[in-house]
């Protein structure tokens, strides 16, 4: 991606991007333009030894794609660094916090604790794939209405866990929501509001039943 030698953005361009930006999107959008799907071949040129690579095919947020990955990449690295999908966060990188939660064939997994090569032939839904055709998932709307996110760093993970929960149990009790999402730590500790929001989304409608893209 960024170290690909042919893809230099001039420094001037970079700084214009940052200087002009008054809001987040304007500030960083120009900088990330080439991250998604960029050729990774030159990435570790000059590294001590070239790590083994594997060609894989998978479905990401409904779209099929093929890619050559380094075998040691975790799934969250693949998503964030090589597909430009930075909505999944790394809170611990060791399976403790849940910030990296995504759906793998409809089940919630910690993407920091999966290897990228393992998703060959599988389907992944990330936070970026939760809204469909510009329409928010009822969970997202409920998270807004009930003020789920404080700092928001755990939110993608909370949403994906909640999504998996409602796909398998459309009308959970509060206790079931807590149990289903207990692998998602929120240090702002807005647990009450997250649970309320999931219950509200579950009461709001059946739209979470099929899992949409996850099928």
């Amino acid at each position: 991606m960024s170290r690909k030698s042919s893809s230099k953005i001039s420094r001037r361009h970079f700084v214009e991007g940052t200087g002009a930006g008054l809001v987040a999107a304007a500030t960083v959008a120009p900088l990330k333009g080439q991250a998604p799907g960029a050729d990774v071949k030159n990435r570790t040129q000059g590294a001590p030894s070239s790590p083994p690579r594997t060609k894989i095919k998978f479905t990401i947020n409904g779209a099929e794609r093929g890619m050559e990955v380094e075998d040691h990449w975790t799934l969250v690295e693949l998503l964030r660094d090589h597909l430009g999908l930075t909505g999944s966060k790394i809170g611990c990188d060791r399976g403790e916090c849940g910030a990296c939660t995504v759906l793998l064939d409809g089940k919630s997994v910690y993407s920091c604790s999966q290897l990228g090569v393992w998703i060959d032939g599988k389907s992944i839904i990330t936070i970026e794939g939760l809204a469909k055709n510009g329409r928010l998932d009822p969970l997202q709307q409920a998270f807004i209405d009930h003020d789920g996110p404080q700092c928001g760093f755990c939110t993608s993970g909370q949403l994906m866990s909640a999504k998996a929960l409602l796909m398998h149990n459309p009308h959970p009790s509060a206790e079931e929501v807590r149990a289903g999402m207990t692998g998602n730590i929120c240090r702002c500790s807005n647990y009450n509001h997250y649970v309320e929001a999931v219950l509200a989304a579950s009461a709001a409608g059946p739209s979470t039943g099929s899992g949409g893209n996850a099928a």
Partner: protein
């Protein structure tokens, strides 16, 4: 209190959409062309002199660009220690986790491989972990001036606060209660690990920081990098929490900046979660000795406290132990020792000096009430503070209402019974605590603009670390401008586009920056009244930098928390079954996000009471619980429902009478839970957290208590 149009109405965050779609960009999400990755090598010893660092193998690794160590980098991180010189890389290293080297390389894998190839020859030194031990004459010396950290005047003396005459206070008492309490180091554990992305454009340094205050972060970076402040731009659009440990500039910002300078490329430095736990900072651990005098009728006569705070090897935080002011009492003596130890550094974590102080204080007070056979609520109603330090009137105080209304919502009268009344295997009990936190006034800035269509831009230097500060500013602007909320755009988090703001620490943003927004809005409204709206692509603009001061008044937020617990006497497990948090934070600007603050703060306090700690191995001096699981951070399953009671006092200062909120929310929660445990069992655990070993120990005649 009059009802307002925008302020006081539950309003979803103006940036909520970004936060629920993955569109909010945090520091570690920012990637730019040719960016290098940096990692830090840390000391595996609690105290050691570095004899030699051999970089030859690491430097020979293809892809390694730059390595910093104490041999080649003498940058002083001035906000990392306010008393001594703290370099980015120190020799000797003084705690397990002290930075030894930083590597920038083409990717993470190479950077991490390089860390493994750096050979460090350490001469290990004796170490000391506990503050009382560290003050003994034969203790290992951590800083050249000795282990008692100097005060502001540079004198190695304890901080002493006196009022009245403590001996007279005890003479006047019918009963005296005394005890020793202890609280551990607890990491802030904000979910976003530390990251910084730095980049130079000529002689201008641009830092994408994860900071609670872009303005103070910028000033600190400029000072330590020895460049003019105008040559530094700090950007922080979204940040994943800090709770006090992302204020000012941090060593990772400086490391990223220096690595970037030397490598002539953008550098993103990332900490691992373990590094975040051991090498940043957490709440200071304390040992507190209390002695309290009371009359037969329950009136307090004296409070004496001698406390020791373990600051780690560098003095980054104040280290005081607070809470006593919440009681009305004529004779007070407080002596606090801030002590260097070889544990992780201690500094600010949500209400820095309070929850640990109030835990101990409220435990002693609970013992006093128990000893006098009084209802703890009655005891507090008798003794709560009427004037600050019995002298200065408050600008407003809802403390009595917090006690009364909180107790009513909780059902205190029905639920409270004298201690250990429950004879079952699972014992139920209730407890309470009260607290206060300064809500000062002070300087902050805002710039407002209006265009020809009546759209307003509000430029404020906030970052919004999760507090909903942007939304709060928008609501205050809408109110002051008499404009609908959707006409307001907030511009935040970039020192090139935002004026100075106080920074999101000390719970000051709503009051300080909110007041600046009001002042600028007044000016802008006046301009519009005089000239009408601007035409075409013109703007009217208003700047404000108010610096309001209080005269002869103390301004505080107040709170009382009530908890019910169930203690399983066979397993030692404690479960919180009901929790009410009553808060006087003046007028509540946004009840929706304010409830989030209270619920979050109280929950964190419950975790502090029950199981959170960074535990150290006495023999090796190494931290054992550096991670979410082991530090036992609260989870969904641990978190009870928190009921919030607002006591909205009509305060004459602050924006529409708003007072501080974020930090008071954690203060009495710890004590409420600990006191509920006592009420359930009749036993007191005097060392936090109330883990099962201590609970079972206390239940079997307090062997470990």
């Amino acid at each position: 209190m009059t009802t307002l149009n925008s302020v006081g109405h539950a309003t979803p965050r103006i940036d909520a959409l970004k936060r629920v779609t993955g569109g909010a960009t945090y520091t570690a999400d920012i990637a730019v062309p040719n960016m290098l990755y940096a990692r830090v090598l840390r000391s595996p010893h609690p105290h050691a002199r570095i004899r030699k660092i051999d970089l030859s193998k690491a430097q020979a690794l293809p892809g390694v660009k730059t390595i910093l160590t104490h041999d080649n980098c003498d940058i002083i991180w001035s906000s990392g220690d306010t008393r001594n010189k703290r370099y980015l890389f120190n020799n000797p290293v003084r705690f397990a986790g002290d930075a030894v080297a930083a590597v920038a390389a083409v990717d993470r894998y190479v950077a991490e491989e390089a860390l493994r190839l750096i050979e460090v020859d350490y001469e290990t030194l004796p170490f000391v972990l506990e503050p009382e031990e560290a003050l003994k004459p034969d203790a290992p010396e951590i800083q050249p001036g000795g282990n008692l950290s100097p005060n502001n005047q540079g004198k190695a003396e304890p901080a002493i606060e006196k009022r009245g005459n403590i001996e007279e206070g005890f003479k006047a008492a019918d009963h005296v209660f005394e005890d020793r309490y202890q609280t551990p180091h607890i990491n802030n554990a904000q979910l976003e690990p530390r990251a910084s992305m730095a980049h130079w454009e000529g002689d201008k340094l641009i830092v994408y920081a994860s900071t609670q205050g872009i303005a103070n972060c910028r000033t600190d970076i400029a000072k330590d990098m020895k460049i003019p402040v105008e040559k530094v731009q700090v950007i922080c659009q979204y940040m994943g929490g800090g709770f006090g440990n992302k204020n000012q500039c941090h060593d990772f910002d400086l490391m990223a900046a220096e690595l970037s300078k030397r490598a002539d490329a953008p550098v993103r430095l990332e900490f691992t979660r373990k590094e975040d736990f051991i090498s940043v900072h957490g709440r200071w651990p304390t040992v507190q000795y209390y002695k309290v005098g009371v009359k037969n009728d329950g009136m307090l006569t004296a409070i004496q406290m001698r406390g020791y705070s373990g600051m780690g090897p560098y003095r980054k935080g104040a280290g005081d132990i607070s809470g006593v002011e919440v009681y009305q009492v004529p004779h007070v003596e407080k002596t606090s020792y801030m002590v260097y130890t070889n544990k992780a550094v201690s500094a600010n974590f949500r209400a820095p000096a309070y929850p640990q102080g109030v835990f101990a204080l409220e435990s002693v007070m609970d013992d006093a009430a128990h000893g006098l056979k009084m209802d703890p609520l009655e005891f507090r109603l008798k003794n709560y503070t009427r004037k600050f330090r019995d002298q200065q009137p408050y600008s407003s105080s809802g403390l009595e209402d917090c006690l009364r209304k909180g107790a009513e919502r909780f059902g205190w009268k029905q639920r409270w019974r004298p201690a250990a009344a429950d004879t079952g295997v699972v014992k139920r009990g209730v407890g309470m605590g009260m607290g206060m936190f300064p809500s000062s006034l002070g300087r902050s800035n805002a710039i407002l603009r209006v265009d020809s269509k009546g759209n307003y831009d509000v430029h404020v230097g906030v970052t919004d670390c999760g507090t909903a500060a942007k939304t709060t500013m928008a609501l205050i602007a809408a109110e002051a401008l008499e404009a609908p909320l959707d006409r307001i755009t907030v511009i935040w988090g970039d020192t090139d586009t935002c004026p100075y703001s106080v920074g999101e620490s000390g719970s000051r943003t709503t009051v300080f920056t909110g007041q600046a927004v009001i002042e600028a809005a007044k000016d802008l409204k006046k301009q519009i009244a005089e000239k009408g709206l601007p035409k075409g692509d013109q703007f009217w603009r208003a700047d404000a930098a108010p610096n309001p001061q209080l005269r002869d008044l103390a301004r505080y937020s107040f709170t009382a928390h009530f908890a019910e617990v169930e203690v399983d006497t066979e397993t030692g497990h404690i479960r919180v079954t009901k929790f009410v948090a009553a808060h006087d934070s003046g007028r509540i600007v946004n009840p929706l996000t304010a409830e989030s603050q209270v619920k979050g703060g109280a929950t964190t306090g419950i975790g502090m009471a029950l199981h959170e700690q960074l535990l150290y191995d006495k023999r090796s001096g190494l931290p054992l619980t550096a991670g979410y699981y082991n530090a036992r951070i609260m989870t969904h399953m641990d978190a009870p429902e928190i009921e919030v009671v607002w006591v909205e006092t009509d305060d004459p200062y602050g924006p529409y009478g708003a007072k501080t909120l974020g930090e008071p929310t954690i203060i009495p929660a710890v004590a409420a839970v600990a006191n509920a445990f006592f009420n359930a069992t009749g036993k007191r655990v005097k060392e936090l957290p109330l883990t099962r070993d201590k609970v079972l120990g206390a239940l079997s005649e307090g062997a470990l208590a």
